[in-house]
C-alpha cells in the first residue's frame, strides 16, 4: 500500500536518506527503528509531503504520493506527533474534532463534539477532559488526546511518531496497547517510528531497521531476534560495540 523507492534526502551536507526502499502492506503495522538522527521522522514526513525528497518515488496505493487532490490525500492519514502537537488555543474536544469542524469532512458542531468525546473515551479519557485546554493535561493525557485526534476521522493510514517518548513505563504500555487495539479494530495501515523496543514488540507486525539512510533489515517482528543482521543485533541489545557508531 505504501512503497518508498530509492528515496534520497539531504539537508546541506547531511545526507539523511540515501536510497531508502520500504514497502508497507495494507492493513499491517510497520515499525521503523533506528538511532536518533537516522532519518526516521524524515521518511515519515516525506510520505505525507511535509518534506520533499530530493529524488526517488513514494507511492500510496500505487499512485505517487501527493499527486491529485492534496486534501483528499491527507484525509486518508491520521498522525500522532511525538510531542502531541495539540493546538494550545483550542480546548481538547476541538483539537480532537479539528478535521470534523472544517473542510471537506465538516459536521455540525454538536455532532463533532459527540464524536470527539467518543474518541476520547476510546483512548481512556473522561468526557470532562473535553473542555480542558492542552496545557492543563499531563504528558500521557496529551498523547492520548493526540491519538484521539489521529483516529477522529477514521483514517485508512495512521502514523505514530515516537508514541512513547517521555512517558513512564506504565503509560508507555497503555499507549502501546491502545495503538495496537485501535489499529486492529480499524483495520488501518500503521507506520510507527520509535527506538523503544517494548513498543516494537507490542505494536509491530513488521519491523524495518533504518541506518545510514537505508533500510538495513526488514521482516516480521517474530524474526527480529534471530535476524542475524549486525545492525539489528546491536540495536536490539543496546550494545555500544558494533557497526553502529556510538558517537554520531
Amino acid at each position: 500500500m505504501i512503497r518508498m523507492e530509492n528515496v534520497h534526502k539531504a539537508f546541506g551536507d547531511n545526507r539523511v536518506l540515501n536510497g531508502m526502499n520500504l514497502e508497507i502492506a495494507k492493513g499491517t503495522s510497520m515499525v521503523i527503528i533506528g538511532g536518533s538522527g537516522t532519518g526516521k521522522s524524515v521518511a515519515l514526513k516525506s510520505i505525507l509531503g511535509l518534506i520533499q525528497p530530493d529524488s526517488g518515488q513514494i507511492y500510496v496505493d500505487g499512485k505517487p504520493a501527493g499527486s491529485g487532490d492534496r486534501d483528499k490525500f491527507l484525509a486518508r492519514f491520521g498522525m500522532l506527533f511525538q510531542g502531541g502537537a495539540l493546538f494550545d488555543s483550542l480546548p481538547v474536544w476541538q483539537n480532537v474534532a479539528f478535521r470534523l469542524l472544517r473542510g471537506a469532512l465538516k459536521r455540525p458542531q454538536e455532532e463533532a463534539r459527540e464524536i470527539a468525546i467518543e474518541k476520547l473515551r476510546r483512548v481512556g479519557l473522561r468526557s470532562a477532559v473535553a473542555d480542558l485546554f492542552p496545557s492543563e493535561l499531563s504528558g500521557g493525557m496529551q498523547k492520548r488526546v493526540g491519538l484521539a485526534r489521529a483516529i477522529a476521522a477514521e483514517p485508512e493510514i495512521i502514523f505514530f511518531d515516537e508514541p512513547t517518548t517521555g512517558l513512564d513505563p506504565i503509560m508507555s504500555g497503555v499507549i502501546n496497547d491502545l495503538i495496537r487495539e485501535i489499529v486492529v479494530e480499524m483495520g488501518a495501515t500503521a507506520m510507527t517510528i520509535t527506538h523503544d523496543m517494548t513498543s516494537v514488540r507490542a505494536i509491530a507486525d513488521n519491523v524495518a531497521m533504518l541506518h545510514g539512510g537505508v533500510i538495513q533489515w526488514t521482516g516480521p517482528v517474530a524474526e527480529m531476534d534471530a535476524s542475524g543482521d549486525p545492525y539489528m543485533e546491536q540495536f536490539i541489545h543496546g550494545r555500544a560495540e558494533g557497526p553502529i557508531e556510538a558517537v554520531r
Binding site: K45, L48, G49, L50, R70, D71, L74, A75, F77, G78, M79, F81, Q82, G83, A85, L86, F87, D88, S89, F98, R99, R102, G103, A104, R149
Partner: protein
C-alpha cells in the same frame, strides 16, 4: 583580508539580503492570495480582530494621550520663542494626524502584536503544530497568516483613528488645563485646520503599517529555527523588521501624500 575575499564577502552579504527580501515578498504575495481564496476561517479572523484591535486599545490610547499632551507642551514652549503660542491646536492636530498618530500606533502594534504573532507561530512550528495543521488538511497560510494580516489591515486604521482623536484630546486637556487655552476655540481651531487629506493619509498609513506588522510577525514565525533560541530570534527579528519597515513606509507614504 585581501580585496577579492572582501568583495566575495560583500557579494555574499548582498545576495543573502536580496534573497531574504525576495522570500519575504513571495511570502506576502502568497498571504494576499490566500486571503482572497476560500476556504475562509471566520473564527480565527474574529479572534485576530480581538487580539489586534480591541486588546491593543489601552496601549494605543495611553501612548496617544501622553504624546498629545507632551506635544502641546513642546509646541507652546517652542512657539513662545517667536510669539506663536496660539498655534498649539493646529500643530497638535497636524502632528498627531499626519505623523505621530500613525507612526506611534504602528510601532506599538509592532511591539505588541508583531512580537506576539511571531512568538506564537514560531512556537507552533517548533512544537510541530504547523505540521499537524498540514496533516489535518488545513493550510497554515490560510489558517494562521491570512486571518491575522487581514485583521491588522482592517483594525490598525481604526486604532490610528482612535489614537489621533485621543492624542488631540491629550493636547486639548493640557492646553486647556495648564496653558490657559479657551476650550471651544481650541476645538474649533483643530477642526478648521484639519483637511480630508490629513485624515485619509493617517488611515492609509494605519492600513499599511498594520499589514507590515502582522506580515512580519507571521513571516518570522513561519521561518523560525528550532528550540527556544529559534523562537527568540524570530520574535526579535520580526519586531526589528516591522519597526524599520514601518518607518520606511511612513517616509514613502508621507512623500506620496504631501510632497508630490
Amino acid at each position: 583580508m585581501n580585496p577579492i575575499a572582501l568583495l566575495a564577502r560583500l557579494g555574499r552579504t548582498a545576495l543573502a539580503g536580496m534573497s531574504a527580501v525576495g522570500r519575504a515578498a513571495l511570502f506576502a504575495l502568497s498571504a494576499f492570495s490566500h486571503m482572497i481564496r476560500p476556504p475562509y476561517y471566520p473564527r480565527e479572523f474574529f479572534q485576530a480582530l480581538l487580539n489586534v484591535g480591541w486588546l491593543s486599545l489601552p496601549v494605543v490610547g495611553l501612548t496617544a494621550i501622553f504624546t498629545g499632551g507632551a506635544l502641546a507642551l513642546q509646541i507652546y514652549a517652542g512657539g513662545a520663542r517667536f510669539n506663536a503660542e496660539a498655534v498649539v491646536p493646529q500643530i497638535v492636530a497636524i502632528g498627531m494626524v499626519r505623523e505621530l498618530g500613525p507612526v506611534l500606533v504602528g510601532l506599538m502594534i509592532a511591539a505588541r502584536v508583531t512580537s506576539s504573532i511571531a512568538a506564537e507561530i514560531a512556537t507552533m512550528k517548533v512544537t510541530e503544530q504547523i505540521d499537524a495543521l498540514v496533516t489535518l488538511s488545513t493550510h497554515p497560510m490560510k489558517y494562521l497568516v491570512a486571518p491575522r494580516v487581514l485583521a491588522a489591515l482592517i483594525t490598525v486604521p481604526v486604532l490610528v483613528g482612535v489614537g489621533d482623536i485621543i492624542g488631540i484630546m491629550g493636547g486639548y486637556t493640557v492646553a486647556v488645563q495648564n496653558l490657559g487655552f479657551n476650550p471651544a476655540a481650541y476645538l474649533k481651531n483643530t477642526v478648521d485646520f484639519l483637511e480630508a487629506l490629513d485624515i485619509i493619509s493617517s488611515l492609509v498609513k494605519g492600513a499599511a503599517f498594520g499589514t507590515i506588522a502582522a506580515m512580519m510577525g507571521c513571516y518570522y514565525g513561519m521561518q523560525s529555527g528550532r528550540g527556544a533560541q529559534g523562537v527568540g530570534r524570530a520574535t526579535k527579528g520580526s519586531v526589528e523588521s516591522a519597526a524599520v519597515l514601518i518607518l520606511a513606509a511612513n517616509f514613502v507614504l508621507t512623500g506620496v501624500f504631501f510632497s508630490l
